[in-house]
């Protein structure tokens, strides 16, 4: 228990963060070099002002036509993503561990809020699973790995809640929780979870073409 926990909350954090950061940098370099071969013209008409405008608009709920067409999906996906990002960064136990390790500390969520937000993440995942199974246009483009990444994202929150409530064997659960977090961080560059990088890249690409060349909105 001691050795595994200390390894997972110590050296392994650096391993995961390095894989995450360098994996994403590698992916960025690979995709831009691909673009140089397949669509070199993008480098002529790419403009940051159009890229940033597109990214910002797609970050506002109901700002795009696509979001207005699917209001339920829009609400679920925004709540899901906000909770998914906020909870790990501001959960009390996480902030305390950062303070112990690196001496840095910031604002924390009240425990009940963090718990509620974790349930919202799991609820969102359940919604996405059902949507992928039931909605024909979603089912048509769904592959096994799409369910797999939903599982990867669900596990840290599921084990986090079980560890918080101390259900089942706590020592096992806390180790599973930390391990699940590492799996998610490491999986980001190698799965569709990399859309945290691909989203701004794609919006920059489409935004520059639509706004700059075609003179139309890309939202």
């Amino acid at each position: 228990m001691h050795t595994v926990y200390i390894f997972l909350t110590g050296p392994m954090v650096w391993v995961s963060l390095l894989i995450l950061v360098f994996g994403l940098i590698g992916k960025f370099i690979y995709l831009t070099s691909m673009a140089k071969k397949r669509d070199p013209w993008i480098f002529n008409y790419f403009q940051f002002k159009y890229a940033i405008k597109s990214i910002l608009i797609w970050l506002v709920p109901f700002a795009t036509m696509n979001m207005r067409r699917n209001p339920v999906m829009t609400v679920v996906t925004f709540v899901f993503h906000i909770c998914l990002i906020i909870v790990p960064i501001f959960a009390l136990a996480h902030v305390i561990m950062w303070e112990e390790a690196w001496g840095i500390s910031w604002w924390t969520l009240p425990e009940t809020v963090a718990v509620t937000m974790s349930f919202l993440v799991l609820g969102g995942i359940l919604f996405f699973i059902i949507r992928r199974m039931k909605l024909p246009e979603a089912r048509y483009v769904t592959r096994v790995q799409d369910y797999f990444i939903l599982l990867i994202v669900a596990l840290p929150f599921l084990t986090g809640l079980l560890a918080y409530y101390q259900i089942f064997n706590y020592q096992l659960m806390i180790i599973l929780h930390v391990a699940a977090g590492h799996i998610m961080l490491i999986a980001i560059p190698f799965t569709w979870l990399s859309h945290l990088l691909l989203f701004p890249m794609l919006r920059g690409y489409v935004g520059s073409e639509f706004q700059g060349v075609r003179n139309v909105k890309d939202w």
């Binding site: 001691h2 136990a93 112990e100 806390i174």
Partner: protein, 134 residues
């Protein structure tokens, strides 16, 4: 002096003699009871005090230091100070939210003291819910 009164006083004296150490040890202490927190986010930490005093007295060569000093330190900024802080609430020196950045905050003081030793000794709880048991 009537014989009965002498017996009674003798009995009281013996009782006090044997109870006195109990006043200084914390035989019945099972959890850290800390009133300094304005709100408690987690249940109080499990802490059987006397199991620790026994271990510390048995296991560690304290170099002439008092056994209690091991946790009940009172050095502050003056590192040569070797007084003990038995009876002084931890929060008197370690406020929940210290203004001075050099002062260790109460939660960190507890965590460093408990977890630090447990990690070093490879014994005892180190994960959140192992101490803060629901």
């Amino acid at each position: 002096m009537p014989k009965k009164l002498a017996y009674l006083m003798g009995a009281i004296a013996i009782t006090v003699f044997f109870l006195a150490p109990a006043l200084y040890s914390q035989t019945d202490m099972t959890h850290v009871i800390e009133d300094a927190y304005p709100s408690k986010e987690r249940p109080p930490s499990v802490f059987p005090h006397d199991e620790h005093t026994y271990e510390i007295a048995e296991e560690f060569d304290l170099d002439g230091m008092s056994d209690c000093y091991f946790c009940h330190h009172y050095d502050g900024p003056d590192q040569d100070h070797m007084d003990m802080s038995v009876g002084i609430p931890c929060s008197d020196c370690h406020p929940v939210d210290p203004v001075d950045p050099d002062v260790t905050a109460l939660t960190m003081a507890y965590h460093e003291l408990c977890k630090g030793c447990h990690i070093q000794e490879k014994a005892g709880p180190i994960a959140c819910g192992e101490c803060h048991v629901r």
